[in-house]
Symmetry: D2
Subunit: 295 residues, 4 copies
């Protein structure tokens, strides 16, 4: 692991397409703008990056473009989890060669009923053993239909190459259990913006937040207020962020996230099918949600 | 409503039985001990009070005994929700006559699929209109299989006789939404001890916590540290409380709660069938969990 | 148990109210009409009987009226399950004194997480031991949030006083497992009209079907065609019944069931709050669904 | 579409690995044995074929080997659904070029909450428009976490290039609704062996059944008895098949399925990680389940 500390705010960076084709130049332009904010790093090819819609060549191109655009002092985390253990290992090491600092490994999930404690334990340990960079666990039951229990996270957290987790369940009780039961240097990120401030209160080191593609500065400000012990302002920022955060995730998903990026000057564009953008009739709603953030 | 402010820590008081018969004297002895702590009041006949296992005469006896033992300066909240609107109204007003300060109304839930926004809105408004004391809404999807959405809570919160909610979902994102969307004087209690501290951070006024039957002083201390702005100690107390809180609710339920009460000098006894106590083999585990609280 | 054989079609009889008050005369008039059909008996105070909305006196009155109106050669099954074991036993024996032939015992369900295999096994065995009439198990996870597994049913089915089950899960795989693993004289009823014919194919002895409150003759005809080995006509009747059956259960519930009863000459009326009838705008839809059954 | 009629029993063919590498020779040997039975065809790269664990080259190799081993008078159905519409189209047409007769398209499912009626409708229609061979819809909510409603299936069934469905939900009520609401020539296959016979009763044209990898003749015999109007024997075969069918799917999954294939003379071997085989301690249980099928 490079000496970058795992903490702060990272966006799960959206992947731009032009006429349905990957547009790495647009990606780099977005990253260059983000670099001017206080974001501590980037998750490339995470859930919001439509990684599942890219072929092998496209994924390599995204990683390469990201490496060019991400400065060495920001975290470059790559979403590299695949269904099989062998493909996961292969992709983690591809990302290592291209220059990612660490890899985020989503739960394999197609055979849900078979993804037992033991199957998942073996999977993560096998990946950790073989990976050339540190890995973080990614728990996102709303997409995978599989929840990683605190028991399992505790068991995995003692491996020296498993350095943290992104928990997007939104379940703060579970997040607290994970924090309570893992070593102090195990980096627990929350992946759900509507509970960013409560997650920090209970000990999360940061957030990997879709809405940070749209309002990175405000997400960073919340973290800074919290770090300064200013709970009142941090709570107020939470309430300010939540409606927009829900719109770009739970309510409208990636199509909505990209529409919001377009509205504020980043390059979002359209998601790939079967995703599609919100109906234009929702745009005024979005503009109203963005209004509080315009100065 | 009497001038008591709705806030602080309340236990959902367990109901003692001796040889399977209601024992109101034991109940009063427990309450007298609790009165020496900083608890702000009591929920009588809540979920942990086995209200669903009592017949009409027994419920009246519990309410009467509670009224005798609860001082006027502590909140006497009565769990009075029934499946039908008419029975709910009848019971709220029985509790009013006996002297409860306010009533907690659990979601009607047998006909789950039919408990629509509109059915529940009508139900709560009809109860609120007719109740002689203020009511609070009780959301406990793990028992009811029905979740009350922030939309519904927002719609109900403007009624002058609906003064608050106990949300036991454990969902802090939802709790935050409820707080954000209801009036400032709408009292939002959390009903899940493992997220008590995060709930306070996001704006809850207090907790109605099963584990407060066992360690009332520690639950009160957490709230006091929070009120004093001492986030570090509040968080530490949260981590200290969580394992015991989980044991007496999610892991062993009311039988476990009562066993823990017995261990620390309150009168718990056995729950009514079909509930039953944890196997004796679990008692050493319980003792270990209680150890940190012995001085 | 009287010598009545447990099989055939039984409606879970709706309970009529007039101006929100129990109307036992209307109930008796409905039963007298039903007596002219080939129904093999009646479930009184089942889920569709709004038993959870009746107080003790009302429930006794319904049982008494039913005993008057039900001939000795038809099954009188009483829905008597309560949350506690002691109240369940008390009610089963009240129904026995009033003259029910057998009692249907719904799963206790408020403390869902605590209703383990062992808790439910003890509950049903305790009731069976003490009941003065035979009992049947009632599995209805859509209302209770608790599913009774084939393992548990198998374990209970060897008790001489547990004579059958009503499974309303709609899960035909589970129904088949129950049939495969219980004694031949253990009466397995299906409680979901859209799968009545497939349930008969796999070995169910009959159906306890809400829609049999509306079109008893057609439900009986399906069973008769099946018994005669006429699978083609039985299947056609199934397809004919399904849309109406879904309308009066999944889509509109008891309010819809009662509206449909009114339409065809039975006395349905209004359900008790928080249930309410379908909006009048749905009546033409209902009339269209009833059309195929008018001759 | 070639003139092959879509009906009968098809196994979702397991994919053999030797030392974790794809073994197309073993696959062909299995298919040659299956060709001596009454199976009407094969699903290649279905869920039980571990398609999600194969890379592009491996998938092409499996399709090519299958084309060599499958006679022209048996159905060659290829499981070609991918997360994105464009990759799905690409793969359907790859399979068409290699010689598949039709393609089975599993629901895209990673972004579960975004897989709305409209998103799925557009996806399936776009694939159907562009596919060079007919497609069937694949509904398997236990793996995808997404259920395709009868409303959606009805809407899709009128497209001339969408010729059928495999429904593995196990929900016979839903299967019946699909059959009732789609054209007579829309081929409805059931994908759950424990409800094969009830599904046939209600109108399914056949079954795509994991257990048909192990006991193809018995599955075919059930269908033949049913077609001959011999419901008694068909039901008996159902009860005979169910315990083994559950063992190789719900209980032990693909690792169990492959162990069972090995036991009866096919080449199963080990699944790819994170799947793993049942512990050897389960083998005697498996042998007992296979005993009734040895003659």
């Amino acid at each position: 692991m490079n000496p970058l500390e795992l903490k702060g705010v990272l966006p799960p960076v959206a992947t731009p397409f032009t006429d349905d084709e990957l547009d790495t130049e647009a990606l780099k332009r977005n990253l260059e703008k983000y670099n001017k904010t206080g974001l501590s790093g980037y998750l490339i090819l995470g859930s919001n990056g439509e990684g599942v819609y890219l072929n092998e060549g496209e994924k390599r191109a995204v990683l390469g473009a990201a490496r060019q655009a991400i400065p060495q002092d920001r975290i470059f985390m790559a979403g590299m989890g695949q269904e099989s253990t062998r493909e996961t290992i292969r992709w983690v090491n591809i990302s290592a060669e291209i220059g990612a600092d660490c890899a985020l490994i989503v739960t394999p999930n197609f055979y849900k009923g078979l993804m037992t404690f033991e199957a998942l334990r073996r999977h993560y340990l096998a990946v950790a053993e073989t990976a050339k960079i540190p890995i973080l666990i990614y728990n996102v039951p709303q997409f995978t239909g599989v929840n990683l229990t605190p028991d399992l996270i505790e068991a995995l957290s003692s491996h020296p190459n498993i350095v943290g987790i992104k928990d997007s369940s939104g379940n703060i009780g579970q997040l607290a259990e994970i924090i309570r039961r893992t070593p102090n240097d195990f980096a627990v990120f929350v992946g759900s913006a509507p509970v960013f401030y409560p997650a920090l209160c209970i000990g999360a080191v940061g957030g990997i937040l879709a809405v940070a593609n749209v309002i990175p500065e405000v997400c960073v400000a919340l973290k800074e207020r919290f770090d300064a012990g200013n709970h009142g302002e941090a709570k107020n920022l939470q309430f300010k962020i939540t409606p927009l955060a829900r719109w770009v995730t739970a309510e409208h998903g990636i199509g909505g996230l990209k529409m919001a990026m377009d509205e504020v000057g980043y390059e979002g564009g359209l998601p790939r099918s079967p995703l599609f953008p919100p109906d234009e009739s929702h745009r005024s709603e979005l503009k109203a949600l963005l209004e509080p953030f315009r100065s």
